[in-house]
């Protein structure tokens, strides 16, 4: 009985959480301009979404978003992984300082991160565009990469890097042949995380994107929504984003679950 109520509560809450998304998903399969009108099943919105021309700015916004996400996730993963290797070896107050600094971008509200970077760029007279957005995204993505990689390093036998050196590997060889294979799962999770964070971001992007007409998906949706009308093509787009995120999260969770099981097996042994 208790379990029934508990389950009912959870499902009710989930229904509430998913109702808006579901409505968008359902109405992405009809042609009506106004949401809520059902004019029969159609996939026209999906096809028109991918036809450049009429919605050229939307397509280029998607392209920009993906390029920015790929570059910033890549750089963040590199920077964050190297940093994590270093932080793992730091002790005492140096480690505490770096941990605190690493936490700041995660604790700061996006608007503060956005405004502070905006002020940085204008103070140094850097014209805003692709580069500034990517730099900003690297700033708030890297801490998450560090948090993904650090646990892998902490679980790792602390001697295996030294073992490689001991067997005649130069530090660079030891990094390539031993350390990176070991932290790879953390790096992949970090990359996926950084990628989603970058795609999702709105608040930091809008302050660093400049006025040269560069648009990402978020700023496009924002501009579009401010005009009052919600472009119908955004409905299939939201549905696609939702499905993609669902897929990514499932992948991450399966990976995590598999790692956990593997570890359990190892400890069982």
């Amino acid at each position: 009985m208790k379990k029934f109520f508990a389950q009912a509560y959870l499902w009710l809450l989930l229904a509430l959480l998913y109702a808006p998304i579901l409505i968008i998903a359902i109405f992405s399969f009809t042609e009506a301009k106004v949401l809520g009108n059902w004019t029969g099943f159609s996939t026209k919105l999906y096809t028109s979404l991918f036809q450049s021309g009429a919605h050229h700015s939307l397509v280029s916004a998607i392209e920009n978003t993906l390029i920015i996400a790929l570059i910033s996730a890549g750089v963040s993963t590199l920077l964050g992984s190297i940093a994590a290797i270093g932080i793992d070896r730091l002790r005492g107050h140096k480690r505490a300082v770096l941990n605190t600094l690493n936490n700041i971008p995660m604790l700061n509200p996006d608007i503060i991160t956005g405004i502070s970077l905006f002020l940085l760029f204008v103070s140094f007279g850097i014209s805003q565009g692709y580069t500034t957005v990517i730099l900003a995204h690297i700033t708030f993505c890297t801490p998450y990469v560090v948090l993904c990689v650090l646990p892998r390093l902490q679980q790792m036998n602390p001697n295996i890097f030294e073992a490689a050196l001991d067997l005649g590997a130069t530090p660079f060889q030891a990094l390539r042949k031993v350390l990176i294979p070991e932290i790879k799962p953390g790096m992949i999770s970090g990359f996926i995380l950084a990628f989603t964070l970058s795609i999702d971001d709105f608040a930091v992007t809008i302050f660093t994107i400049g006025t040269e007409g560069l648009e990402t998906l978020s700023t496009f949706i924002y501009a579009d929504a401010r005009k009052g009308g919600l472009t119908p093509e955004l409905r299939p787009l939201s549905t696609i984003i939702f499905a993609t995120v669902l897929l990514l999260l499932v992948v991450i969770n399966i990976r995590a679950e598999r790692n956990r099981r593997k570890e359990e097996e190892e400890t069982a042994r």
Partner: protein, 460 residues
């Protein structure tokens, strides 16, 4: 190149981590082909010493030579040594074969030679046919064998082993000890072995180096170290022992547990306070007779597998630990004999606490970084350097650290038959030595107090 027959030379090595000095002017020389064990409790600096030899740690002072060549600044991958790590440190993403071949592949050795050598190494550690196994699927003992194979395949001049058997169970450990000993014989290379297990050290080594608090305490063969410990620390750490306060009455006569005994030691001077070490198996115990040297009552008796371990309270009130193949009942009166050659007399490291300090004013003296109230010293001016002596039994330890003038933690506990001799480390890393009848545990935090009357102050 210096001409010498030592393969490893540590010359005056010092190393600190921050405030903490982990190696204090350590010098050590190892002959080619020796099996040397560095033995000591955790935190004594033995692992640091090994890591410095392997190249993973730097030294603050001193130099290290291997085969006469100064390698102090040579990075680890260029040193002619290989290490077997405590928790094996096998590369989890490589299989057994690739783990063992790792070093040879880096040296760009021909593939077919690698294969022959890997097979030979696997045969040597008794792991033939395990080449393609995932290292994570191996047992602790098997991983250990792979780790050894991975190190020796590179034909190092020196093999370093950092507590390699610590993670194995007792039975496995005994087997591996024998195999290591055989391997040492077959390979003919120098082994430097680090452990905190004194039994392992005694079993395996040609030479044992006992370390404590960053200093070498004693270097010698296992028999030397066991039979002739140089100080109370070594005596306590190696094997079981009764360590007692005694007085050297004259040559060959020593007084302890309230009685005079004949011994073989000479040259201490007359009426000299000394430490006396008696191994528990060296006390002969028998049912009460008139022919014993001293009498006592059995306090406890525990079966230890091969022998019984008993504590006996002597008529004079001292507690002695005895091991014998015969059991005596608790409460039984017994007689005991100790042969002169089984009495080991050691010079005392110190007779009382000595602190260098400064006179603050007529009634305050600063020692151990804290100001203590003392009796009025009219003739010593403030600011003058003084030497302060305090007897071991005059230092009071308090349960609550707030009750003491200064705070310390208990580091080393020695039972001396009727009292405990403690080493208490203060927050400034000074040692205070205390005799007490109270029972304290290792690492207990205590408050330290000294009465004004007990401070003996003298000008330097």
């Amino acid at each position: 190149m210096k001409d010498s027959n030592y393969i490893i030379e540590f010359n005056h090595i010092s190393k600190s981590f921050g405030e903490k000095c982990v190696l204090d002017d350590v010098s050590l020389f190892v002959k080619k082909g020796e099996f040397v064990t560095i033995l000591g409790p955790s935190g004594c600096g033995k692992t640091t010493l090994l890591r410095i030899l392997a190249g993973f740690g730097t030294v603050d002072k001193g130099e290290i030579r291997i085969a006469g060549e100064d390698i102090t600044d040579v990075p680890p991958h260029e040193r002619p040594v290989n290490t077997v790590f405590q928790r094996y440190a096998l590369f989890p993403h490589l299989n057994v074969y690739d783990n063992i071949a790792f070093g040879l592949k880096l040296k760009k050795v021909q593939a077919d030679e690698i294969e022959t050598r890997v097979r030979k190494a696997l045969k040597m550690v008794g792991m033939t046919d395990y080449e393609w196994r995932d290292v994570n699927s191996l047992s602790g003992g098997q991983q250990q064998r792979v780790a050894i194979a991975r190190a020796i395949i590179n034909r190092p001049q020196v093999l370093l082993l950092d507590e390699p058997l610590a993670a194995l169970d007792l039975k496995m450990r005994k087997d591996m000890q024998m195999e290591l000993k055989d391997m040492h014989k077959t390979l003919g290379i120098t082994f430097v072995y680090v452990t905190h297990d004194q039994e392992e050290a005694l079993t395996l080594s040609d030479t044992i180096v006992v370390m404590s608090e960053g200093k070498v305490q004693q270097i010698g063969t296992p028999t030397d170290i066991y039979n002739e410990p140089v100080n109370a620390f070594v005596a306590d750490f190696i094997g079981e022992s009764n360590i007692l306060n005694g007085t050297m009455i004259r040559d060959k006569v020593v007084k302890f547990i309230g009685l005079e005994f004949e011994c073989v030691d000479e040259g201490f001077g007359e009426n000299m306070p000394v430490d006396v070490v008696i191994r528990p198996e060296d006390v002969y115990i028998m049912a009460h007779t008139d022919s014993g040297q001293f009498e006592g009552v059995v306090q406890s008796c525990i079966f230890k597998g091969v022998h019984y371990e008993m504590t006996v309270i002597t008529t004079e009130g001292y507690e002695i630990m005895i091991q014998d193949y015969n059991a005596f009942e608790v409460g039984q009166s017994v007689s005991m004999i100790i042969k002169p050659s089984d009495i080991h007399v050691m010079r005392k490291e110190r007779m009382c606490n000595q602190f260098e300090g400064t006179m603050v004013d007529a009634t305050h003296v600063e020692i151990l970084g804290t100001s203590f109230v003392c009796n009025e010293m009219a003739d010593i001016a403030g600011g003058e350097k003084v030497l302060v002596e305090v007897d071991f039994d005059k230092i009071e330890l308090m349960d609550n650290k707030e009750d003491g003038t200064l705070v310390g933690d208990v580091r080393f506990i020695l039972y001396k038959g009727d009292h405990y001799h403690l080493t208490v480390r203060t927050e400034n890393n000074d040692n205070v030595y205390v005799d007490t009848h109270d029972v304290w545990d290792d690492r207990d935090i205590v408050g330290i107090r000294i009465q004004p009357d007990d401070l003996r102050i003298a000008r330097v």
